[in-house]
Subunit: 206 residues, 2 copies
């Protein structure tokens, strides 16, 4: 640890610290993609990134610290935004499609699966996943806010719950039912969430 | 392996084979509950069950075979059935509550989490989870079939999709969002699934 607290990689922007940080976190994601959470080790990450093992331990503490930092870095680097289609149902369908791609495309799919598995095994990883998903939900919620502005759904609609309703059946197939996700499944989920939102089902009333 | 194929534990019912099978699979579930999938080893299961390690390897092949057999055994032993409340919305709420309990009560919660994590790491475990959930879905679907008989929802309603709609947001909070699950969350999920089912949203039309 440096003597003054600072966010990872912020010392000497563009310098050795920033380069090492990017190399280590990129290597962490690559290792996750290839070997999953169970195969993630500091040794492998050190070799792959070319950064000394002692440095990795000092900066990230171990496997869970690496995973948490890699998730946070990945969220910041990608600057993800939801696709706009002009209607709430279309936007929710695009979100549901993103979830399917995020688990079935290589190498993102393996990283997504590894993140869920890691969160089930480690509280540090669980907190990292929670923060990553909270950020995703906040960004996704914009499509519902815009539907409210267009008058498509009523004021007071809980935007995150609308998004959850559209994507949760996709995650359920992928993680729990271990079933394939068809286009029909995606369209059904988006339609039901959009219909319920239009009917005011996500306006708080409990 | 024995010389003729037979289901696990079926040789000499009530005899040593059946007792050993029950002891090993019970020990597998207990180990999963205490140490998770990452901590599951044949050595620990052998010690805990009092069955020789060589026997465990010969019968179940290894960790993934143990997990798959334990899941199948657990499904058969428990003979789970959905709670009936008299209305579809009430029945779906009970199913959503079951999911919350299944992940937050000890020791079932740890076994549930370990099963999801195992499925993300091993194709054998994934197939075991798929079969376990397919059985759960088939049993759960009865509450929707009864709602069709009562005239609450239209003929042709896809029962498993109605159930998925009610429970998926709960799984999403537990596994993906890593958020707590409130009573309000459960009621919202059950209500939206029941409303959509009544409106015919789960009748195939794609």
């Amino acid at each position: 640890m440096t003597s003054t607290p600072e966010p990872p990689g912020s010392a000497r922007p563009g310098g050795r610290t920033a380069r090492n940080t990017a190399a280590v976190l990129r290597a962490t994601l690559d290792e996750l993609g290839e070997h999953g959470y169970a195969g993630l080790t500091v040794d492998r990450v050190a070799v792959r990134s070319g950064v000394h093992k002692a440095t990795v331990y000092r900066r990230w503490g171990g496997v869970d610290g690496l995973l948490a930092a890699a998730l946070e870095w990945s969220a910041r680097e990608h600057d993800w935004a939801p696709t706009r289609t002009g209607t709430l149902e279309g936007d929710l369908l695009a979100l549901a499609e993103d979830v399917r791609h995020g688990f079935t495309d290589a190498p993102e799919g393996a990283v997504s699966a590894a993140s869920i598995a890691a969160a089930l095994a480690s509280p540090v990883a669980a907190e990292a996943l929670r923060a990553f998903m909270a950020d995703r939900h906040e960004r996704s919620a914009a499509v519902v806010a815009e539907a409210v502005e267009r008058g498509e759904v009523p004021e007071g609609t809980d935007a995150v719950e609308v998004v959850r309703c559209a994507v949760a059946p996709v995650y359920h197939r992928l993680l729990v039912g271990r079933e394939p996700v068809s286009d029909v499944d995606l369209r059904r989920a988006a339609r039901i969430a959009a219909d319920a939102a239009r009917a005011g089902a996500f306006v708080s009333r409990d």
